[in-house]
């Protein structure tokens, strides 16, 4: 299977702290791939590299054959037109209506006329179940509706790759399941490559074709959902069975830490 994304030996730091420690993984074209792992494992940092928001200290990120890690800003802007991103908080502009939020990328990046953009906006809002909400402001919406509106905006430019950062975060289980269903439908119909960062087990089981698991900045697992479920790797089993990590230091060490000696 052809790969949409190929990450090789990706290393990145926040200050002196090494966050991604040589990540190598591939994301097959046309699949829904979930990047999973515990909090702080580096999955959102990896996502930020995949969408070109961060530059790695070393390594490469080939998207459809082009290394975005070494791209200049103009080329990166062109690449970004072909991808959509739903950020954790939906990242809608609060001073704009939903329709204006969805129209923004079309006005910024295309020469389409206003009547065409208006129709596209209504189509996208309908796609995510928000017909009739175009004149609402983000503050007037529930958390789930904001996420849907964020998806409508992410879909505005008909991306070939759609990225989601923790789409279920902060949502009740029913709304989260509805969002998973929407992601599945969009993937099925538009044949996009979908990349979802999440640690929600129900979402992983509902939407994933392929799983990339990170642990402490390293790749712990790469494979299909079935392989993931059946993996006997300790770290995978702990994640699937929701087993907490063992204490990393003894009571004696703990005393030394708090006593400062």
């Amino acid at each position: 299977m052809e790969n949409a994304i190929e990450v090789s030996n990706l290393v990145t730091y926040y200050g002196e702290r090494k966050i991604l420690k040589g990540i190598t993984c591939s994301i097959p074209t046309g699949t829904t791939t979930v990047i999973v792992g515990g909090s702080g494992c580096g999955k959102t940092t990896l996502l930020k590299h995949l969408i070109g928001l961060l530059k790695p200290a070393s390594g490469s990120i080939h998207i459809h054959g082009k290394d975005i890690a070494t791209m200049d800003n103009a080329s990166l802007d062109e690449y970004r037109k072909k991808m959509g991103v739903l950020f954790q908080g939906a990242a809608l502009l609060n001073s704009m209506t939903l329709a204006e939020n969805v129209a923004l990328p079309l006005k910024e990046h295309t020469k389409l006329k206003a009547p065409v953009i208006d129709i596209i906006v209504r189509m996208k809002l309908d796609l995510v179940g928000l017909s009739g909400f175009g004149e609402f402001y983000p503050a007037e919406l529930s958390g789930g509706m904001k996420k849907r509106a964020g998806i409508a905006r992410a879909m505005a430019m008909d991306p070939v790759i759609l990225f989601f950062d923790e789409p279920s975060a902060g949502l009740d289980p029913v709304t989260a399941a509805g969002l998973d269903e929407l992601i599945l439908r969009l993937h099925r119909v538009f044949k996009m490559t979908v990349v979802v960062v999440t640690h929600e087990l129900p979402s992983i089981f509902a939407i994933a074709d392929y799983v990339v698991m990170l642990d402490k900045g390293e790749v712990a697992f790469v494979g299909t959902l079935d392989d993931f479920k059946n993996s006997d790797k300790t770290i995978v089993r702990a994640f699937l069975e929701r087993r907490p990590e063992e204490e990393s230091y003894s009571p004696d060490n703990y005393f030394k830490i708090i006593a400062g000696s």
Partner: protein
Amino acid sequence: MKIDTVLHSDYTVVSIAGEIDMYSSPALRDMLLTLVKKNTATVIVNLKEVRYIDSSGIATFVEALKKMLAYKGKLKMAQVPDRLMEIFNFSKLDKVFEIYGSIEDAANS
């Protein structure tokens, strides 16, 4: 994208080949609005050779249809490839446009 227009006595056939995307759809819009300005009664769009259509292409057809309905004109789709039909179905556009298997069927309807 390539557009060919053939005028018949009762209808006009617009045959499109290639990809209808955000870069090419403005040219399609210009052509369709030219037909609309002439109050063309029936336009049949032959999509047989279209490999890809994005939202801007669909929106362009929706805009043209809306303008044509104002003077009771008809915009019909013919020979829609399966891949496009899937998108039409998902977007409920199969309910919006008249869709036919052939240009003849569209012309005779």
